[in-house]
Amino acid sequence: MADPMKIRATLQGDTVEVRVLMAHNMETGARKDSSGTPIPAHFIQTVNATHNGKVVFAAQWGTAIAKNPFLQFKFKGGAKGDKLQLSWTDNKNASRTDEATIG
């Protein structure tokens, strides 16, 4: 199972700044291992963030997002103590959802 995401969600004025680190190999499919065998592509394809049941951010990614991805975005309407959910799904249909509290 993939490691938890590291999510920092902080209220700055009326804006919530969200910074996320995700543990994922983001394999492009173009690399080979030491024995010359191609390493199959394995990468996060979609990322979603929801706050109070509303999607506040969504992304689609290709293979060129760096390994152990970082993502930062900002939205309005959040309050301290609110929960924020982050989810990703990769091309092997594995997924992970983590929750953070806005601080």
Binding site: D3, R19, L21, A23, N25, M26, S34, A66, K67, N68
Partner: protein, 267 residues
């Protein structure tokens, strides 16, 4: 659609972003490394290491929570910035990685040979003990380096480390000091900290354990010493050996009083 027209339009567009005409490439690297330090993927490995630290494992089904990193069993906070140090239970000076592996062997009953078979991270991943070291290092973030020199063996280790630091040998006549003994040096675009001074020595320390962008895994000070000797054209220093501990002690004592901001992020 006329692609040629679009491309011409693109070429003629003023570049967005800030102009950095007069800054040197290394300044430019540092600026963006600072940005990345704020969200360093090393944190993912700290979290993993913390889980390993707290989870009972190995033949003895024990966690590492009774591991004594020098401040008493189970005390992790601040331990990293006070190593290498003398440990009375083994009668030796140990650096953090050596001590962590020692605890995995003595407390968890894991085999030394098994742990050290793959001492360093590579494309296949980051070994467990490396994540634990990353966790231990992260628990000293924003603390001052205070490596003890009270015990005679700690002082001896420092002096021996100093000698090894300046030891020139091999086909290229290189020593550690060839690259790291003066200010303002660079190999290609890589800054070489002057490890004989506090400001330089702390740079060496906060780099490792560090998240290596190439490959996306964690590398420790033990790895750094290993690869320095490789580039020095020396034979290979044995993993967790006295020699490596001695150089790490030399570097760490030289950094005493400086703020530790690691784990790092590296090219």
């Amino acid at each position: 659609m006329n692609t040629r027209l679009i491309l011409a339009a693109l070429a003629g567009t003023a570049l967005a972003g800030t102009a950095l005409a007069q800054t040197s490439p290394t300044d430019e690297f540092q600026k963006f490394r600072d940005v990345m330090e704020e969200d360093n993927p090393a944190e993912l490995f700290e979290a993993r290491g913390e889980e390993y630290w707290k989870t009972p494992r190995g033949p003895k089904n024990a966690s590492l929570e009774q591991c004594d990193l020098g401040l008493g069993p189970g005390v992790v906070k601040g331990a990293y910035v006070q190593m290498p140090r003398y440990f009375a239970d083994v009668g030796q000076v140990m650096d953090a990685e050596r001590r962590v592996v020692h605890c995995m062997v003595t407390l968890q009953g894991l085999k030394y040979e098994d742990i050290t078979r793959q001492p360093f991270s590579n494309d296949k991943g980051t070994p467990d003990h490396v994540s634990v070291v990353t966790y231990v290092a992260g628990e000293s973030r924003d603390m001052k380096i205070a490596v003890p020199q009270a015990h005679p063996k700690e002082r001896d280790t420092y002096r021996i480390g100093q000698e090894i630091f300046g030891f020139r040998a091999g086909p290229y006549d290189f020593a550690c000091s060839t690259c790291h003994g003066a200010d303002g040096r660079r190999i290609r675009m890589q800054d070489l900290p002057n490890l004989t001074k506090p400001e330089g020595a702390v740079k060496g320390i906060l780099g490792w354990p560090g998240y290596r962008m190439t490959g996306g895994f964690m590398l420790t000070s033990q790895w750094r010493m290993n690869d320095c000797f490789r580039q020095q054209r020396f034979p290979e220093p044995k993993y967790l050996s006295d020699t490596v501990t001695a150089i790490l002690a030399y570097q760490a004592v030289n950094a005493n009083g400086q703020l530790y901001r690691g784990p790092g992020i590296k090219r």
